[in-house]
Amino acid sequence: MTRVRCLVQEGLVSSERIVRIKTSEGRQEEVAVSASQIRGSALEAPVIGREGGKILIELPRESSSGRWRLWVNKDQLIESA
């Protein structure tokens, strides 16, 4: 599973975390996720598409701004076999 680098904060309940992900446009996207979907400072985020140096990922849940899919820079991604 690919992961995307993020800032991790405590969530509203103990099993949740709030993460912030930097998009390729430089925006910070905020989403509440299950703590089990985070490893270190990275969130599980499957890759949906690629375009040049940008990667389209899908979030586990809808973000604060109402988005499910985000374009992020390739260097934000951690790919593991």
Partner: protein, 207 residues
Amino acid sequence: MILTDREIQVALATGQIKINPTPTEDAYSSSSLDLSLGSKLRIWKTTPGGVDSVVSPADPNFRVLAAVEEMAEARNIGPNGYILEPGSFLLAWTAESVELPIRSRLAARVEGKSSLARLGIGVHVTAPTIHAGFRGLIQLEVCNHGPLRVKLAHRMPVCQLIFEQTLGTPEKGYAGQFLGQSGEGAAQRSSGSSRSRRSRPSSRRPK
């Protein structure tokens, strides 16, 4: 297609649906499964008289979760329950954690229970979909639309899940499938635009 109680039990037994703690027998109906109320609540603070506060969800800097942290009081449902006043609104979570693995081809809807609905209690605000791949506690948006004061209790049956089969596996169910591979499929994945994913042959689809 909606899953019946028998199909839900099979899906739980085979790991196509994961719920923790495991639902008891009496949580099922013919075509749904009840979930219970967790102990944590977030109660939106009322605005003092004369204060005009506006929330702007479309503002790029708006952080709804930060707003909840700041503007919604964290409470636990105690042994005496929590009284939901008429017209009041709060956030709550199910006691059970739910997972719908992406390749299970299942999604769900969280719906209210008629026993609470007839008292005026709603448990979501037009956002009932539990998407394929979801994992975690289900957040409830609880509102008392009725005229009565209603006591909420920890572990009371609060909502029901209706499980539905999806037609096919969502795109994210294929993510990583071509990692480490060479050849045409891998080339499509790594150099193609997001549009090129639409041309993936259906024969590659997993069960």
